[in-house]
Amino acid sequence: MTEEKNTRLTLIQRAMNQDDESAWNELVGVYNNYIFVIIRKMNVPTDDCDDLLQQIFIKIWKGFSDFEYGKNRSKFRTWLGAVSHSVVYDYFRKKKSLSSKQTMAAEESLSSNFSSITEPEIEEIVEREWRIYISNLAMQNVKKIFSGNAIEAFELSMKEVPGEKIASQLGITLDSVYMLKSRVKKRLIEEIKMLKEHYE
């Protein structure tokens, strides 16, 4: 996010203001699925995810005042990743000490995956998952815009189905396949750009 673009407050900036409840709600709405994805990647069992999500959001809410947004390119999601990581780390540690000796082996295997994840790796996961998450979110929005064969043509082409095959499958011309595909692509890129500006 460049300095110029910060003239308009982003969602994160608005949410940092602890009185702006709607901004916070929106932030939670967007990020909670994302954090869910990340902590699932860290092998947290589904049943425990809600608890952890709440803890993470509480930490964020409390820590917003200390977070220096946009400075030194520090990204909200990097911070978010660090917070999530520490919460998950605590979770596994707690779980380990609480569990009985006989389940030790099972716990070992459960946490071993996590403990082996290093800090740079976390950052990588956070970054990558965010990109995937935002792209998919954008795709969901784009799907609502297009009707007819456009999305289908696009999705088939993403699966690397040859254009001729798509054309015959959808009963349209090859040119139409390319055109529909490109239209969806263009719109998707626009949507991603918008989501990025809004949520990062």
Binding site: Q54, I58, S135
Partner: protein, 711 residues
């Protein structure tokens, strides 16, 4: 949870999320995230390839070339390649010369230019004439359908097609249009043959291969126009010393007989195509090429009835014979008059053939169920002839009523009679049809045949100049079958005859696809319906004459119908005589307006017409074909006295139906007895001639007629 609760009072409510449903959805979301989409995260839409977004533009800009796919045909001078034109996104044909020498290229380009200069729906259009980077000439045209008339005729004669003879003749009519157009541009084709006539799936017809075409150079033939073809440049280039034309279709003058090639050369080929359509064979046979050529020069045409077992309509075989005459002057003067004959046939054919089919139908039925058949036929005869006789009697009383038109009561009576007549016919038609359908219900075509029978009767009525009856019969058919194209086109003609252009337009329009030969008239009706939108008003004389002058060639009978109709509807015969006067100019094209002396008079002794002293007045016949019920336009004036003195009339045979009392032929062009003998002697009392006008005069031939010779 305790940990969480301790902070809850400060937290916005919404982070306490995720009921069961959204949990499931969330799980699903994680599973369904498509990692592939990540690639779009950093993409900028400006980097998107426009080619996909704007495929047409990019194709035109990127790939201006024509992609040649495969050779599809090869002729004497050129071969044709199927190609894809990426600019227009269509398949086209690319023609390239076989002889790639400079001379060959030039000859090839000549054909391209001639074809390109002819813009007509039945002549393939040239898109582009160009040369490759290595100077190889080519031209591009529309890609032709793969059926030629030759294929269609073969299919037709082997019975492997739905095509009917009429359909093939329709194709020929369109070819005539193309030829007529080319002739008007001084181009003769010289290689008209079924192979060179392409027929598309949707009835589009193209005359192709103008490789032998010639540009006529006769001075008086050249219609000076800046877009006229440059005859000198283009003519010197036909390949010398080679046979130009296709044996079996070429005219004697093309096979070596020393005669100039002209428009009649194409007419000959059209006749050959007609022969081929009718018989499925070429009209000249021979085992070797030389023999065919020799037979062509000797005009050894295989008699058409020997060429096929099929029963051929005699009118068409006559057309064939005339077109295939050895001497050019014996052929049709142009493709237009040839076409008119085919069209005349097409117009009449529908009914004649269908009537034949109908009687065949009856014959078959008779074999199966003789008793029922007898009942039907009797019923049919009673119903139809009964109706006709009744209507005919009505017509006569109607005529009387017209004479007493001023009488309002009579008018009312007439109206009632008219209505009764209409109701009667309609009910009789229904009755007859029901009888038929009930008894012939195993044949789906019966209704169609029935309709045709009535349209046929309607056309016969028109021919007998009873337009009211004709209209009634058409209406009866249309009431049952509103889309019957034959009835619609007949009705349209009847509307035209009544100057009802709005109604005519609608009717022509409704049948235009089924009966393409009415298309031109449909357009005329359209034009005149704008000019005169009120169908209840009739055109004045001037407008009518303009209309007649604009009629397509070969529709002179329509002009005659218009004249006869005017007579039928006119209150005053002296008013009507002005129409006859105008028609005399149509008949005598060389006569100037001030040269005609026309004086018509109604007297107690009978109607008098004097044309005395009219210079250049030669022709007194009528405009239509010989089958027209009237022989002379003067017949409609119901003359008793006719003065033709000092005119150039020399043929009296057309006057043979006129019951004249006196005729003055003083110093006209009649110079022999035979002419006088053709006159109708029923009421004839006096013939006046100049002394010595008829050198060998036999006064005894005319009993009771005074032959007065004046000085």
């Amino acid at each position: 949870m305790a940990f969480f609760n301790s902070f809850s009072e400060n937290l916005p409510y919404c982070i306490f999320m995720a009921d069961t449903n959204s949990k499931i959805e969330r799980e699903k979301l994680v599973d369904e995230l498509n990692p592939q989409l990540e690639i779009f995260y950093d993409l900028d839409k400006e980097n998107l390839e426009d080619s996909a977004l704007y495929p047409i533009q990019s194709k035109i800009l990127e790939n201006p070339d024509i992609k040649e796919l495969c050779e599809i045909a090869r002729g004497g001078e050129k071969f044709i390649i199927k190609a894809y034109d990426s600019k227009a996104d269509r398949h086209i044909a690319v023609a390239r010369p076989i002889d790639t020498s400079q001379e060959g290229n030039e000859r090839f380009l000549r054909e391209a230019r001639i074809t390109a200069s002819l813009e007509h729906p039945n002549i393939s259009s040239v898109y582009d004439i160009s040369a490759d980077s290595d100077n190889q000439a080519y031209f591009t045209t529309e890609l032709l359908e793969d059926k030629s008339l030759q294929d269609l005729v073969k299919d037709f004669h082997s019975g492997e097609t739905d095509y009917k003879l009429e359909d093939l003749l329709d194709v020929l009519v369109k070819v005539c249009d193309a030829v007529a157009y080319a002739h008007s541009r001084n181009v003769i084709h010289l290689d008209i043959k079924p192979e060179n006539i392409q027929v598309g799936t949707y009835g589009n017809v193209l005359l192709i291969d103008w490789g032998l075409a010639k540009i006529l150079t006769e001075k008086d033939d050249i219609y000076l126009n800046e877009s006229d073809l440059d005859a000198d440049t283009l003519n010197t280039m036909t390949l010398n010393g080679t046979l130009k034309g296709t044996p079996g279709f070429m005219a004697p003058e093309q096979a070596g007989f020393n005669m100039k090639k002209n428009k009649q050369t194409d007419v000959y080929a059209l006749g050959a195509v007609l022969y081929y359509i009718l018989t499925g064979k070429a009209h000249i046979q021979g085992d070797t090429l030389m023999e065919v050529l020799r037979n062509t020069c000797l005009s050894k045409v295989t008699p058409i009835h020997k060429a096929t077992d099929k029963e051929l309509p005699s009118s068409l075989t006559a057309v064939c014979e005339k077109a295939l005459s050895f001497m050019q002057e014996d052929r049709y003067p142009d493709s237009v008059s040839f076409k008119a004959e085919i069209q005349a046939y097409l117009r009449g054919f529908a009914t004649k053939a269908e009537e034949a089919g109908f009687s065949k139908q009856l014959a078959l039925l008779y074999r199966r169920k003789p008793l029922i058949c007898q009942v039907i036929v009797t019923a049919m005869i009673v119903i139809i002839s009964g109706t006709f006789i009744f209507v005919r009697t009505l017509s006569q009383s109607e005529a009387k009523a017209v004479l007493e038109k001023q009488n309002a009561e009579k008018n009312l009576e007439l109206f009632k009679v008219e209505k009764r007549k209409r109701d009667l016919i309609e009910s009789k038609v229904d009755e007859a049809l029901n009888v038929f359908v009930k008894n012939l219900n195993d044949d789906k075509l019966v209704e169609d045949k029935f309709a045709s029978l009535f349209v046929g009767a309607s056309i016969s009525n028109s021919r007998a100049l009873d337009f009211e009856n004709a209209m009634l019969l058409c209406d009866s058919v249309l009431k049952k079958y509103p889309n019957n194209s034959k009835a619609l086109s007949e009705k349209a003609y009847l509307y035209l005859i009544d100057h009802k252009f709005v109604a005519a337009r609608e009717a022509f329009w409704a049948c235009a696809t089924e009966a393409p030969h009415v298309f031109e008239l449909g357009r005329m009706s359209m034009r005149y319906s704008k000019l005169k939108p009120d169908d209840s008003v009739r055109m004045d004389l001037d407008t009518t004459m303009r209309f007649i002058n604009e009629l397509p060639t070969g529709r002179d009978w329509l002009a005659m119908y218009l004249l006869v109709r005017e007579k039928q509807l006119s209150d005053s015969i002296s008013d009507y005589s002005k129409w006859v006067k105008e028609f005399l100019f149509l008949l005598n094209k060389n006569m100037k307006r001030n040269e005609l002396n026309f004086s018509f008079e109604q007297t107690n002794a009978g109607n008098k017409l004097s044309l005395a002293g009219s210079k250049n007045l030669t022709n007194l016949m009528q405009l239509s074909g010989y089958k027209f019920p009237l022989k002379s336009i003067l017949e409609t004036l119901e003359l008793s006295f006719l003065n033709l003195s000092h005119t150039e009339v020399k043929n009296l045979v057309h006057l043979r139906e006129m019951k004249l009392k006196e005729i003055n032929l003083y110093d006209c062009a009649v110079t022999n007895m035979a002419q006088l003998q053709t006159l109708n002697k029923e009421k004839l009392r006096l013939i006046i001639i100049k002394k010595g006008q008829i050198p060998i005069l036999d006064k005894n031939v005319f009993k009771g007629v005074e032959l007065r010779e004046l000085d």
